[in-house]
Every structure is written in C-alpha cells, then in structure tokens.
C-alpha cells in the first residue's frame, strides 16, 4: 500500500519536475546565448513571463486537430518522462525501458505535425517536411546507438544500465561504447533542434516553420513541449552514457553540463540546409554508431 502511494506520487511529480527543469533550461539558454554575444540578456524567468503572457492572450484555433495534436504531443512527451530514471527514481522502471521510449518519442513530432498541419500556411508544410526529414536523419544513428547499449549491457531496462554503470564506471569512457556515446552527442543538436539543425523552425527563412500559426495558449503549450523534449533527450544521454546518478542533484548537474556544451555548439555554428544536415547525420554519427555496434557485438559474443 505504502509502495503504491510512493509510486503514484512519483508519477505525478516527475513530469512536473521535468517541466520545471526544461523551462529553467530554456531561460538559461537565452541568458547564456546573450552572454556569449556579450549582451546582458533577459532575466532567467523570462520564459515563465512569456508563458504567463501567452496564457492570458486571446488565442485562435484552426480546427479540432489543431487543439488535439498539440495535446497528443505533450502527452507523448510526458509519458516518455515517466520511463526515464531521475537519479535512482523511475516511476515506471519495470515496464519496457528503452524499447518503449523509442516508440513513444516519435509521438512528440507526430502530434506537432498533425496539429500544425491544420493551419493552412505554406511555411508550416515546409517546416513539417523538414522536421520529418531531420527525424529520419537522426533516428538511424539513434537506433544503432541504443542497440549497441542494449547489446553491451544485455538488457532493455534503463534502470539496469544505470545501476551497472554505477558499479563499473561511465560507459562513455569504456571501450566499445565510447563510439556510441560520441555518436549520440553528435546527433544531440539535431534531436534538440538547435543550431546547426534549426532549419525546421528557422525564423528568417520560413517564419518559424510549424510554429507560424501558433499564438496565445497554443504557443505556450508548444514551448512546454519543447522544454520536455529538451529534458528527455539530455536525460537519456546522461542515463545511458554518463552513468545516470545516485541522486537527483548530481543528475541535474550532469544534465546542465551537457546542455551548456550543446549551447556552445548552438552559439558558434550557422544553420545547415536540410540536405547538408542529412548528409552529415548519415555520415559521421551513423558511421561511428555502426562501428560501435559491430565492436560491441564482436566483443560480447
């Protein structure tokens, strides 16, 4: 009974915690980018101020799917959060692990595409097609990376992977898996949708792509969704390659370090065109991930 109560509390609290961390990261991103540009930058809570403003604004809907798609996308991201361990806490540890995450992670871009597609703006269709091509680009190396992790540790449970790493050391500095870790880090900007891979929401060329018809509450929901995606992809990297963590605080510190590294990449690179992005994603990260997978299989068998 007591176990049940603890579990339910975890299920309710972990998405909220993920949202808080994600929104904090968004604010931090704007501040750090400003400091890299030698500007003072907005206050850390600027995304919260923006969101309050957006929730109070009048919003325009473009149809039933416009409302439901964004909720589907948010729900998908929240469910993924439940499968990720925060330190030693994982609300749904015993069910599915990496395989489930692989399936449900696709709900976020899919829901956004369904929702945005209702607004009949040509910029939206360009943005969505770029988003899906980019997804195709990073899903191939991501699958290879996850496959090599699963082969190496002979488990699909992330909790198990974290526990083994707690005993034997981080997998990014162990022999066959450092290739996979490197490949994951190389595709991380594409998953996060930051520069050089921000062609899906390029403000200058396609008026922020799928976001072009979002305003008011809808825009606030997409910002929350973006915060969750940020949290999920970095948390997955920390759990799989940086050894997870014994407690929540060190887990968030590790996430912070990875995120700041990504921001530095974001600050110095210009934007790829979509075909350059695919060329890059299917060349170096895929090659590294493939090499990692083959080495892992050779060593393990």
């Amino acid at each position: 009974m007591e176990n049940m109560v603890v579990k339910i509390t975890q299920i309710i609290l972990s998405p909220i915690l993920a949202l808080i961390v994600g929104v904090f990261f968004l604010g931090l991103a704007r501040k750090i980018m400003a400091r890299i540009h030698w500007r003072y930058g907005p206050p850390l809570i600027q995304p919260v101020i923006d969101m309050i403003r957006l929730f109070y604004q009048k919003s325009v809907s473009h149809g039933r799917m416009f409302d439901l798609g964004i909720i589907l996308s948010l729900a998908g991201s929240i469910v993924v959060v439940l499968f990720l361990p925060f330190g030693q806490i994982c609300p749904l540890a015993g069910s599915g692990g990496l395989l489930v995450i692989l399936y449900i992670m696709l709900l976020a871009p899919l829901g956004l595409a369904l929702s945005a597609g209702q607004g009949a703006n040509p910029n939206i269709s360009i943005g969505i097609s770029r988003k899906f091509i980019l997804t195709l680009g990073y899903e191939a190396p991501l699958l290879l990376v996850l496959l090599s992790v699963m082969t190496h540790y002979k488990t699909i449970s992330i909790m198990e992977v974290v526990n083994i790493q707690q005993r034997t050391g981080w997998s990014i500095i162990s022999f066959p898996l450092f290739l996979s870790g490197l490949a994951y880090f190389l595709i991380l900007p594409a998953i996060l949708g930051i520069r050089p891979f921000d062609m899906t929401s390029a403000t200058q060329e396609i008026s922020s792509g799928p976001m072009v018809e979002y305003g008011g509450k809808y825009l606030a929901l997409t910002v929350l969704e973006h915060a969750l995606v940020l949290f999920i992809s970095i948390a997955l990297f920390v759990n799989l390659f940086l050894g997870g963590a014994g407690n929540i605080v060190s887990f968030f510190m590790k996430m912070l370090v990875v995120f700041v590294l990504c921001l530095c990449i974001n600050a110095v690179f210009p934007r790829f065109r979509i075909e350059q992005a695919i060329k890059y994603l299917w060349k170096w990260p895929t090659l590294l991930a493939f090499l990692g997978l083959i080495t892992t299989i050779a060593i393990r068998s």
Binding site: R39, Q46, I49, D50, R53, S208, G215
Partner: protein, 191 residues
C-alpha cells in the same frame, strides 16, 4: 529595472506579463528599420527588457511601424495588425507615420497612420536614435499599467471608422471585415 514587484505580479499578472514580454514582429517598412538591428543585438540589447523580434504576427504583441507607409504597405500593415492576437500594441516610429514627414506631398504614401490602425504611441524624429525605442517602451509600460494602451479596444469599438478609411485609401478590400459592422458612421475626410 526593478524586478522585485511581487505584489504587482500577484495583483495583475496579465498586465505585468504583457509589460515584460513584448514580442515585436519583424516588419520592415521604410528606412526606420535600420535603427532596429542595433536595438536587438549586442549594442543596445533589447532582450534584457524582454523584447525579442518574432517572425509571425500570431506570436507578436508589439507592432513597430518604422518609417513611411506607402499605400501598398498599408495593406500588409492592416492584414498583419488584424492577425495579431489581443492584447496588442502599436508604436509608430519616425515622423513619416505621424503626419507624412518628408513624404507629405507624395502621391504614393499615406499621412496619419492612426486613421487606418490605432496607434498606442509615437516616437517622433527623423530618424530617432535607437535609445528612443527604449524610451518608447518605458512609456508603453506606463500606459499598459494604467490601462491606456488600449488601441485594440478602440479598433474594435470604432471598426467602421477604420474600415471606411482603409477602403478610402485602398479601394475595395479583398478580405472580410474583422468585426461586425452594423451602423454606417461617417469616416473622416481623407486629406
């Protein structure tokens, strides 16, 4: 800037959030737009006041009209303004939108922009310095706080007036009316 205004935040969160999150839409009319890049980039850094440029009218709530308005641009301005979500604020930048400025005699530009869309504040000058935008923003904060930045309310209340003026300048408009027009009130004479 004083950020420790907790009581104000608790009393009127919408007002405070509108004040500190002004998202301006990119709309490059006339020569005044050249003053905007220094404002949003490293030299003057408008982002510390929460002002960032956004690419679409749906996400924006601040509309800066920077410079003269030709008849063709007026059409785009009206459509952009009507697509923005309420509450929305408009600021005319430079002397041309105020009264025509140096284009007073031009056959191709409109004078008095506030006959076509409601304007919440003006920045006079030809050209105003980038600092003038910050002065305008602080004035706009005061207006928002006092509830005087109510251009979008005036637009709704006097829509017949604005629509008539728009039709007078542009001819027959090829988009439907934003609000219901029930009385046929008289529009002011076009100078």
């Amino acid at each position: 800037m004083d950020r420790n205004q907790i009581t104000k935040w608790l009393k009127a969160p919408a007002k405070m959030a509108n004040k500190y999150s002004l998202h301006a839409i990119y709309f490059c009319t006339g020569c005044g737009i050249i003053e905007v890049p220094p404002v949003i980039t490293a030299r003057w850094d408008a982002e510390r006041f929460g002002i960032i440029p956004v690419a679409t009218p749906r996400q924006a709530n601040l509309f800066l009209i920077t410079g003269y308005v030709s008849v063709k641009t007026l059409k785009a301005i009206i459509r952009t303004y009507e697509q923005m979500l309420e509450p929305k604020y408009t600021v005319g930048f430079g002397s041309c939108p105020i009264n025509g400025g140096m284009y007073w005699d031009s056959y191709n530009t409109i004078k008095h922009l506030d006959k076509y869309i409601p304007i919440d504040g003006w920045i006079a000058g030809c050209m105003p310095r980038p600092e003038a935008i910050f002065i305008a923003v602080t004035h706009l904060w005061t207006l928002i706080e006092k509830g005087m930045a109510n251009g979008y309310v005036r637009y709704k209340e006097n829509y017949e007036f604005y629509r008539k003026n728009q039709e007078m300048a542009l001819g027959k408009l090829d988009w439907p009316a934003l609000y219901q027009i029930n009385s046929d009130s008289k529009a002011v004479e076009y100078e």
